[in-house]
Amino acid sequence: MFAFVIRRIIQSLFVILVIGFIGFAIKHQIGDPVRDLVGISVSKAERDALREELGLNDPFMSQYVRFMKNAVRGDLGMSFFYKKPTLKVIVKKAPATLELVFVSSLIIIFLSIPAGVYAAIRPRSWLTRFIMGASIVGVSIPVFLTAILLIYVFSVELGWLPSYGRGATVSLWGWETGLLTIDGWKHLILPSIALSSIMLPLFIRLIRSEMMEVLQSEYVKYAWAKGLAPRRVYFVHAFKNTLLPVITVGGVQLGILIAYTILTETVFQWQGMGFMFLEAVERSDTTLLVAYMMVVGVVFVAVNTMVDIIYGLVNPTVRIAGRK
């Protein structure tokens, strides 16, 4: 197991290097650090002097190495708009996004498991038909449309829930959290439902199809032949094996949720990284865009690595192969 973890971590470091390379290439191609520093009202000669001084005329590779060195030290450049280090800007926005993704993931996990398992065990019941029908509708509606519908129904028509912003937040060791106030939770409900609306149906369908396949297996038939109670057959013998593929696919999907936050945060004016990203696009804040890409990339890799390690813990074949 230990060797397995080390191997995974080395792989992720490599992936991060590649992400850094892509990020740097983008910045190199379309970014203009001189403009970011001095604006456009400076003469050409002065600009050229500044270019030389900043090392922008150095070979591509040596600039890349410098970029990565700085990145490792947490320096991802200055934001043109905020006039602050990009990492500071992102870190300030991160709690909003992470809390949104966290609550959405909880919704997805706690709804998809019972729904998917039930739909697999009782494939013919009317409730299963309803779940499967609803999930088809769910995947086919785009996130922003779901978001607008939710706002229309619950904020505009019923007036039950707020339609934008994070509401009251509390600072906890510098982390602005909305999870500790009732107002914060009220503001979280609609965005997190909207964000989970794409993945939830996918997860239900994934869990159901994996579980149905496992239920056909010889070892499940054998479990029945041993005279075990249905609960044990379904939840110990079948579900544990269903979990393995679901963890792999599901982990990646939860990572992709971060990408969907851009849409959700925009509709709900949610002051997180996704909202910041779209603003940065409008302001051509290339450094901030690349920094966002790098941070999200690293988070994504970290999530996947964690998922793989959890997979290893559940699957004895991996766990024990490493033990030897």
Binding site: S217, E218, Y219, K221, Y222, A223, W224, A225, K226, G227, L228, A229, R232, V236, H237, K240, N241, L244, V314, N315, P316, T317, I320
Partner: protein
């Protein structure tokens, strides 16, 4: 005398899109305490379905559509699922074909053993573990104490089948149904596992239903043989009688195809043709398209199972009915 297990006119159907098909037709046989009976026939004959029907474990779209499975005074086919659960894995244990697939890959051997005991006996976990250890010893697993925490992939195919046999022994069942228990194993260990199983049946006084397509294996292990073809019993008798003097043309063909009956230099003797599919059953005797002795009546009327020389020898064939009992 009452039999330990008596199957009467068993019928199993599958509900397919094209309609219902009958996989098991009018199958009747019995099993006495400690007796060993072989269920033989080519692949698709209905042996496995018969075996699973005994513990009422026919997976959808199949169902038992008729007949009785009398066991210890009760008809299993008519019991509720909770009542059947008390018999499955408890009084009647099953051994499946491929030990690579039967053990759950994510559960330890110990878990898979103790759960079976705990499902049927009112004992503590520690007691269950002690029973599991004892049975692992009986199947000659080396250093069993270390094995309980291990997972199936840490064992070879032969070792896994020993574990499956140990699981079958856990509750001291009256009957073991072994469905092709050595077919998936390496040829070099097949005999070893078969010997172990038959020794254990003897020492633990368990009755055995041995399901296999291999007449050779059955003839070494069993007391009686039941030959199945296309969902029906075509011949039944004491093993030594059937092997030395097969009566039904199908049984004759099976015996002639055994490696030990083949003559050097001669072409391999095989029954021509294949078993018909359930959706395409021939009229009358379902063996008639492959039978050398076929007569006009064979294509119209299903031959009945009749007694020949003694009440232990039954055969279903028009050609034999004429000469024998009239």
């Amino acid at each position: 005398m009452d039999h330990l297990l008596e199957i009467q006119n068993l019928e199993v159907k599958f509900r397919l899109r094209s309609g219902e098909v009958t996989a098991i037709n009018d199958v009747s046989f019995f099993l006495d305490q400690g007796e060993r009976v072989g269920l033989v026939g080519e692949s698709g004959a209905g042996k496995s379905v018969t075996g699973f029907a005994i513990i009422k474990l026919i997976s959808k779209p199949g169902f038992i559509s008729g007949g009785k499975v009398l066991f210890e005074g009760r008809d299993i086919a008519g019991l509720s699922i909770e009542e059947v659960r008390n018999i499955r894995g408890n009084r009647i244990s099953m051994i499946f074909q491929d030990p690579m697939m039967t053990l759950n890959p994510v559960l330890s051997i110990g878990t898979q053993m103790t759960e079976t005991i705990l499902a049927h006996k009112n004992v503590s976990k520690a007691e269950a573990q002690a029973i599991a250890l004892d049975k692992l010893k009986k199947v000659h697993i080396p250093s069993p104490e270390k094995r309980l925490d291990q997972y199936p992939h840490e064992f070879s195919g032969g070792m896994r089948q020993r574990i499956v046999i140990a699981i079958a022994l856990l509750t001291d069942p009256a009957v073991i149904i072994a469905d092709e228990p050595t077919t998936a194993l390496d040829v070099t260990i097949q005999a070893e596992i078969m010997d172990l199983l038959s020794e254990l049946c003897e020492s633990e006084k368990m009755a055995l239903i041995l399901i296999t397509h291999d007449l050779g294996v059955v003839s070494q292990v069993t007391d009686r043989i039941i030959v199945m073809y296309a969902g029906r019993i075509v011949e039944q008798g004491l093993t030594r009688d059937v092997v030395s003097n097969p009566r039904h043309p199908y049984t004759k063909g099976l015996i002639a195809a055994l490696p030990e009956s083949q003559q050097r230099g001669k072409a391999l003797s095989q029954i021509p043709g294949t078993m018909p599919s359930l959706t395409d059953m021939p009229q009358g005797c379902s063996f008639h398209p492959r039978c050398e002795l076929v007569m006009p009546i064979c294509k119209e009327k299903v031959p009945e199972l009749i007694e020949l020389d003694n009440k232990n020898a039954l055969v279903a064939c028009h050609a034999l009915a004429k000469g024998g009992a009239s």
